[in-house]
């Protein structure tokens, strides 16, 4: 395949970025999107130019490290896959592909297509856990968890923290990410003692990081590689409402 690539290049956080056009020939349909960029980088290195920097690690769709805006869609045209699992057979010979980093106030660009997503870690640190120290646990089968409940928790826990939801949202909102973690922990019996505090603390942190609010557009759900449901945001809002009535979230 022969492609025309328009790629966002930015030296560092301080400098201005711009699109640069590259022609790339000899792309195999069987290669992944990142392998296509590997090929471009190989050619750039051969020409003694700096390769395009992008984040990636496991290349099997689970670590959440990769994430590119491809023709304006987070993780590209195929539903329910990460950028690394997108393969070139989804494109046609002669296509022009525009590649950008995640764009959100809370995700500053570090270089080229690499952004800083540490805000997500701080949301988890605010309350995205169950406070149980090692050694305190009772036998694993002491608390039965109905299968449907465990399955729902797992649906939410499947989030890989890639940030596509934020990048896709016109408001740059992190509601889907935050709601997924809340739904995971708040669906389980183990998560009940801290349920309402957790909702308030995580949402407060989300706001403090500069993420926008949710206006029910649904772009986040549409691009989520793990198909996290918008319903979890409703669950979060309910927990938040109850938490406010109970005066929770003060630690």
């Amino acid at each position: 395949m022969r492609l025309k690539l328009r790629i966002w290049r930015q030296k560092n956080a301080q400098s201005e970025g711009r699109f640069v056009e590259y022609n790339l020939d000899g792309v195999s349909e069987d290669s992944s999107f990142l392998e296509m960029l590997d090929l471009l980088n190989q050619q750039l290195i051969d020409r003694n130019e700096e390769p395009v920097h992008f984040d990636h690690d496991c290349r099997e769709g689970i670590c959440g490290m990769c994430g590119l805006m491809i023709n304006g869609i987070a993780h590209g045209p195929k539903a329910a896959v990460t950028t690394c699992q997108l393969h070139m057979r989804e494109f046609k010979d002669g296509d022009t592909i525009t590649i950008e980093p995640w764009r959100a106030k809370a995700f500053p660009v570090i270089k080229d297509l690499v952004v800083d997503r540490s805000a997500f870690d701080r949301i988890i640190q605010a309350g995205g856990y169950i406070s149980v120290s090692t050694g305190q646990a009772p036998d694993a089968n002491v608390i039965p968890v109905p299968k449907t409940q465990a399955d729902r928790a797992m649906d939410a826990a499947a989030c890989i923290g890639c940030g596509a939801c934020v990048a896709a949202c016109p408001n740059g909102s992190a509601m889907l990410f935050t709601a997924a973690k809340l739904a995971h922990l708040n669906s389980l019996p183990q998560g009940q003692p801290e349920r309402y505090d957790r909702a308030v603390l995580m949402v407060n942190q989300m706001d403090a990081e500069g993420f926008g609010g949710c206006t029910n557009i649904g772009e986040c759900e549409a691009v989520c590689p793990k198909e996290i449901s918008l319903d979890f945001i409703a669950m979060m809002n309910r927990d938040l409402l109850v938490a406010n009535l109970l005066g929770k979230g003060k630690r």
Binding site: N12, S28, D30, S32, E35, D38, Q42, I45, N48, E49, E50, P51, H53, D57, C58, R59, E60, I62, C63, G64, M65, K78, V81, H87, R89, I110, K111, V114, R117, S118, D121, I124, Q125, A126, G128, Y129, I130, V132, S133, T134, G135, A137, P138, A140, N141, I143, P144, V145, K147, A150, D151, M154, A157, A158, I160, G161, H184, L185, L188, Q190
Partner: protein, 654 residues
């Protein structure tokens, strides 16, 4: 073909007569750990914050250790190269985690898990460590459930189990096909709680590039901030390496692209012994490579072998599509060769059998480089929905990568490098031979001997991090006088200078070929000569080829950009430098071990039907290598292995 004379490695490594002591306390194995825990010294809770512990790596082992030691009150610094600790490669483990709960009432016990693991490792692991691993396995499941890990449940709300290779009981706990992810998120969340509590400071996008040893004790590390290129020393009372394995020495492996051996290798060069480097696991069920652009290989969980049947055409060279090959012309080779374990035979055995099939011309797929993993019978028996519930995400991933629908046509699989049983040598307390340097998880030479059983890596990582290290590390602190070390100490300055020197040297080659070019070439050598099967001749050839490639690299590599910014080429180059050296040690170790055991298969040593032939008389030891200088042969230390509980027998799965 031009003939090159292969120079024979005549120099045999010097070995130290005095046996290496694993410091296993004496006494009956069943009560050893309980007694050791009592006998070890403790640190008063109010004193703990005065001790700084550096933990490198944030996977299952690193994150669980950092969280647990933080909970105890120590002052922790945790480092990872990724942008978040949640991305460590433990996240990619699919199938499950073993524990001896015996919730199935099918005859499991701590002793059986211990037995299966020692046998599965082909009698090359330390019995006392393996027993302890089996013993703490149950507490791991308890802890993870309490953290909210959403393990699979039955309708009554109790935990579900599945079977894995090398066991005849169902002892594997799982969370769909994402067990590693869920366990890692559990540990990551526990870590996040400690970060919020102020006991752990987290440093992301920061890579360890050297170990600081002062007066014989590990006292810190040198790191490079990957965003700015700044190189700084970080000092501590204790250093813990939890940096995973080195399968990426093969270039193509199931590891994440960033996984690397740099931390353990540079610790080796500071004096830590490297144990059993040639023990690598080639996982039987991965998607076969498709072409030159291939950047990594993708694992299809071993759990698929619960329901999938592995076969090839019985007739070599049969190129018909799978559905046109009638039942009686299919060779279900694992079921025929190993009837009692069948498709769930251990990994090393299944991998070698697949290689034999492909080598004999029975390979399938466009490049004839795979075998079938067929779900047709299971779908007929259970229905597509059940199979989708069990493995849906894996089937989706398979389709994304290959473009084929495995509900309709069999998957194609082939073995790929996946895990390294070898690693830094540690004693019973998980401490290396350098006092104050602890090594946990895949980074140590571990409890898996010459072959790891499925669903045991997660178990070991979490056993080390949640339960074992948090008991043994305080004992070191409490029984050691730690003098103050400052950044102006000579050893600190020397280590920083060493890292700067390597960095500058790489930037200054200014050659013509990319880092990846050399890494691919190294990978080809390693796979060809030190992969699934090895010969003395091939290993000697590799020991000639690697230094040639390495020399060319230092003459002609091109590292673009500068050292004072985010520079992914520089990062890769630094890791490759270590892979060249580590690759040589792997070959040397494989050459030294004149036997076949587990994942280490030397063609010269096999039974008439092609099974591994161990030599317990001469090789029932851990080979621990000591660095002796860049141009000198390393020195071999031998830790003899005694089998007092599991009798040394030929491992049979027939």
């Amino acid at each position: 073909m031009s003939v090159t004379t292969t120079q024979t490695i005549t120099e045999t490594p010097t070995f130290v007569e005095a046996p290496l002591d694993g410091r296993v306390p004496s006494g009956p194995i069943e009560t050893l750990w309980e007694r050791t825990k009592f006998e070890m010294k403790l640190v008063n809770p109010s004193n703990r914050r005065k001790f700084k512990i550096i933990i490198v790596g944030s996977g299952l082992a690193g994150a669980s250790a950092a969280a647990t030691l933080g909970e105890q009150g120590y002052n922790i610094e945790c480092y990872c190269y990724q942008d978040s600790p949640r991305r460590a490669h433990s996240v990619a483990a699919q199938g499950g985690i073993n524990a001896a709960k015996n919730y199935r009432n099918d005859g499991d016990s701590v002793y059986r898990l211990f037995y299966d693991t020692v046998k599965g490792g082909d009698f090359r692991a330390r019995e006392a460590n393996v027993y302890r691993l089996a013993e703490v396995s149950n507490a791991i499941i308890d802890q993870c459930v309490a953290q909210g890990v959403p393990f699979a449940r039955e309708y009554g709300g109790m935990l579900d189990n599945r079977s894995f290779g090398g066991a005849q009981v169902s002892r594997t706990f799982y969370a769909r096909g994402q067990t590693g992810q869920q366990l890692l998120l559990g540990a990551y969340q526990a870590l996040a709680r400690q970060i919020a509590a102020g006991t752990v400071k987290m440093f992301t996008r920061t890579e360890m590039l050297d170990l600081i040893v002062v007066n014989g004790r590990a006292r810190g590390i040198v790191v490079r901030d990957m965003r700015t290129g700044e190189i700084t020393p970080r000092l501590a009372d204790v250093v813990v390496l939890a940096t995973g394995g080195y399968s990426n020495v093969f270039y193509l492996s199931t590891n994440a692209k960033g996984c690397n051996g740099t931390a353990i290798w540079r610790a080796y060069k500071r004096g830590a012994y490297f144990a059993n480097p040639c023990f690598t696991q080639i996982h039987p069920t991965c998607i076969p490579p498709v072409g030159e652009h291939q950047s990594k290989l993708t694992l299809m969980s071993e759990s698929l072998r619960n329901d999938g049947r592995i076969w090839v055409p019985r007739q070599p060279g049969d190129t018909r599509p799978p559905e046109q090959i009638p039942e009686n012309e299919r060779y279900y080779y694992l079921e025929e060769m190993y009837p009692s374990y069948g498709n769930l035979s251990p990994r090393d055995i299944s991998s070698r059998a697949a290689k034999r099939m492909v080598d004999s011309g029975r390979g399938v797929g466009p490049l004839r480089n795979g075998v079938y993993l067929d779900f047709a019978d299971a779908i007929k028996r259970l229905g597509e929905k059940v199979i989708r519930d069990r493995y849906g995400n894996l089937f989706d991933m398979y389709e994304n990568i290959t473009g084929e629908n495995a509900y309709k046509t069999p998957m194609r699989i082939y073995p790929a490098p996946h895990y390294t049983m070898g690693g830094l040598w540690v004693d019973y307390y998980l401490m290396s031979n350098i006092p104050g340097l602890f090594v946990i998880g895949e980074a140590n030479f571990s409890d898996h001997g010459a072959n790891r059983l499925g669903a045991s890596a997660l178990m070991q990582g979490l056993a080390d991090g949640y339960f074992i290290l948090p008991a043994t590390l305080p004992n070191y602190i409490a029984s050691t006088k730690l003098e103050k070390v400052t950044e102006d100490a000579d050893a600190v300055k020397e280590a920083v200078d060493n890292v700067k020197r390597i960095t500058e040297r790489l930037m200054n080659v200014k050659g013509e070929k990319s880092v990846d070019h050399y890494h691919r070439e190294l990978g080809k050598i390693m796979w060809e000569y030190c992969g699934m099967s090895r010969t003395a001749e091939g290993l000697q050839k590799a020991l000639q080829l690697i230094p040639e490639l390495e020399a060319e690299f230092w003459e002609n590599v091109r590292v673009t950009g500068s050292a004072n910014e985010l520079n992914q080429e520089l990062e890769k180059a630094g890791r490759l430098v270590d892979y060249f050296e580590l690759g040589k040690l792997m070959c040397l170790d494989a050459l030294n071990r004149n036997e076949s055991c587990g994942g280490h298969f030397r063609e010269e040593y096999q039974t008439p039907d092609g099974e591994a032939l161990r030599n317990d008389e001469e090789y029932a030891y851990v080979a621990a290598w000591q660095y002796a200088g860049d141009d000198a042969m390393p020195i071999l230390h031998k830790e003899p292995l005694k089998f007092e509980y599991v009798k040394l027998t030929t491992r049979s799965y027939k």
